[in-house]
Amino acid sequence: MGCELLDGLRVIDLTDDKGSLGGKILADLGADVIRVEPLTGGPTRNVAPFLDGSPGPCTSLFFLAYDAGKRSVTANLDSPDGRALLLDLIAKSDFVLESFPAGYLNSIDLGYETLAQRNPALIQVSISPFGEDGPGRGYRAADIVTWAAGGAMFLMGEPGRPPLEMSIPQARLHSGSEAAVAALIALQARRASGIGQRIVVDMQACVVWTLMNEQAMPIMHGDYLRREGAYLGSKVLRRKLVFKCRDGFVVMMIAGGTTGAGSTTRMVQWMEERGFAADWMKSTNWLGWTPAMFMALNQRDLDENADMEDRLQRFFLTMDKREIFSEGVRRRILLAPVATVSDIAHDEQLDSRRFFVDVPAPANGRSLRMPGAFAKFSRTPIGAPRPAPRIGEHNDEVYCGLLGLSAEKVESLRAQGIV
């Protein structure tokens, strides 16, 4: 039994990796999401890396994660009959999600005007790397390129070494989830008007939004951050954020003021118990240690900060992640382990909330465990998604069941290479 929140709404998902998560979210919420793919399979099936390192139409980890919950039909959009099928599907749908290169849909006579003529209530969400009005409207954009364009890459990495992206590309997940937000906002507008609209999601802007408002620093403070490695970047006081411990890394936020003074005081107490605290740390008024104070730091402040980092590092090296975290939680200290996926997989917090779900793999039914609901709804819970679909797995059920084509008709379309 799926979630009932978006019961009765249908989504045609034509996206590549830039939008796939959007359809996944709508499917989680109960919409009927149908992927319309080329006969050889859609682009998300080719996104490396692959399960067991073996490429195949149903083994992309990205595909398994973000096309779960969807149905799949095939349609050859190079043929007029294939395009007519897509139009028939769109006539019976509420949303179209797409991320084709600019102009592609117009070039095959499936531009928004055509679609809206057929279905005025249609909400079309187009995901574009750089928007549709600037010099970059036709630009190619691998994920690392939009991560760079949006300013996130500039702030990640060691000074003097290349800027970085995460090893699981992230920009496309921001644009995909933003597409779902936009679709649902437009749905509320449609309730009043009965009329759909077209939405453009700008991937570059989605990445800028992750910068914690750092954008305003050059204008308001006259300077801007550079990448700071494992330090907490700040124009006023550069503080070490990531520390080594016995079996990995931990993160400690050394903070003062109303939000951090309690945590830091308790940290100093813990260090004192183990013989790692300096006298100055015990006598410091952490409540007064605020961003405003950082505006006028003297050499002693900087020396003390360095001493604190040094002592914290030696202290953390005496323990492992688990001990540090459980003690940190008990003492209410602003620290956390740098968890690996292995730590996450065995986390008691997620276990107690029954977060992970088991979903059969599309190719062979092998059980795959994956993240479950992104939110817990008291009345309409999100369940485990249906497995990511095999190519054209739902051709018969959609073309016959939804469009009312006869089995013979579908067979003939198949013979002509249209589905």
């Binding site: 929140l5 300013g151 700008d202 990448r227 209410r332 292995s342 996450i344 977060f355 994956m370």
Partner: protein, 405 residues
């Protein structure tokens, strides 16, 4: 057609800091009436965090960090620790379609403003509760910042040059993941409520929302035991794939990100860079296998080009590339400008300051930064007087008693 998509939707907003306010901002910028409830006794820490007007923390109304996430909202002050303040908040409940809060779970419970109490008074209420790790479980009460949660959620472990050379993503990363899911949750619950008349409680753990962005690695781990690590910009899809240093400009480093998917793209890129074909790198497989050698080959070819010019040339040839933009560069970026991304709003105390705009544009009912963020208690009179009918004298009394505070 209404000017804004969410006109007529009413939100009583008890959230603070990042995830909660960013979520309700989606609603406010799209026309919902959002009333934020704050108190000087429990100040939103973003009000004292930089960037500040003129680079100086002059008052609790001069933080652009706070202002950015609270556009289009109204703000009142109520010290909810006091029963009379809670009674006033409850008088706004009949008006609200949505209540949002982002404290650790005990806070609303102790204030007697949790879902069981509010839904008894208003059965069709949609209530969003979002905290770091969820309303239940052994770490439900864990309080902290998005930097910590980003480490807990695995993002730090996939960021860096090597396993012992981690370089985390900038800032409170999960604070910018969770609101996308939280907004979807609230909007879907509103849709359901409009269809059925039924409200409900949403427990959104920012941890569980964040992990949606880690899914491929989590599936991989459970299936094969492989633990994802930092990638050093390596890719199994593209080669070259990474950051390459360009010519310095104005004394600052400039870099370009380049990703080449196939052999045709590789040959085109060599032509643009004026380099001869090299047998070592002819196939995508050989380029992926010889990644370090490839980067050493690339570095001098790229080094003397201005990043902007090289981007134009590579993109004209169909190669995926873009300058690695700093925050200054972003304000000059032609594509962001063409998207009309940057906005200057007039704030009551800060005057004009720079705001990020919306990340999407709607053709018929586009959202908009409808007003700058409220200064502390800016709408006390309008809401408490206008909506609740309190007299001016009564409001002054409540201010003196630090109930409206």
């Amino acid at each position: 057609m209404a000017r804004f998509a969410l006109e007529g939707t009413h939100v009583l907003d008890f959230t603070w800091v990042g995830v909660g306010p960013i979520t309700t901002k989606y609603l406010a910028d799209n026309g919902a009436d959002v009333i934020r409830i704050e108190s000087a006794h429990h100040i939103d820490i973003l009000r004292v965090a930089p960037p500040w007007k003129d680079g100086q923390p002059s008052s609790i109304n001069s933080s652009q960090f706070f202002a950015s996430y609270n556009t289009s909202k109204k703000g009142i002050t109520l010290d909810l620790a006091k029963p009379e303040a809670r009674a006033l908040a409850l008088r706004l409940l009949p008006w609200a379609d949505v209540v949002a809060e982002s404290f650790t779970p005990h806070v609303m419970h102790n204030l007697e403003l949790d879902y069981p109490i509010l839904s008894a008074l208003k059965p069709d209420l949609v209530m969003l509760s979002t905290c770091l790790q969820g309303q239940t479980g052994p770490r439900a009460e864990f309080a902290g910042f998005g930097q910590l949660l980003s480490a807990i959620s695995g993002f730090y472990s996939i960021s860096g040059y090597a396993n012992d050379e981690l370089c985390p993503p900038y800032g409170a990363y999960t604070d910018y993941v969770a609101p996308r899911f939280a907004a979807c949750a609230v909007l879907a619950a509103l849709e359901y409520r409009r269809n059925t008349g039924k409200g409900q409680h949403i427990d959104l753990a920012q941890y569980e929302a964040g992990l949606q962005f880690m899914s491929p690695a989590i599936i991989d781990y459970f299936a094969t035991g492989r633990v994802a690590g930092p990638g050093d910009n390596r890719s199994e899809r593209y080669a070259p794939h990474g950051a390459y240093r360009c010519r310095d400009e104005d004394g600052n480093e400039r870099w370009i990100a380049i990703a080449v998917a196939d052999d045709a793209g590789w040959r085109v890129m060599l032509t643009v860079l004026g380099a001869a074909p090299d047998d070592r790198f002819a196939s995508i497989q050989s380029r992926i296998e010889r990644r370090d050698e490839l980067d050493r080959f690339m570095d001098p070819l790229v080094r003397d080009h201005p990043a902007d010019d090289l981007t134009v040339a590579l993109q004209a040839a169909g190669v995926s590339a873009y300058p690695i933009q700093s925050c200054i560069d972003l304000h000059r970026d032609d594509n962001l400008r063409a998207f009309d991304f940057w906005h200057w709003l007039e704030h009551q105390e800060m005057g004009p300051s720079p705001y990020e705009g919306l990340q999407h544009r709607m053709s018929a009912t586009p959202g908009e930064l409808r007003s700058a963020a409220p200064v502390m208690g800016q709408h006390n009179e309008e809401i408490l007087g206008g909506m609740l009918g309190l007299s001016r004298a009564e409001i002054e009394r409540l201010q003196r008693d630090e109930i409206v505070f």
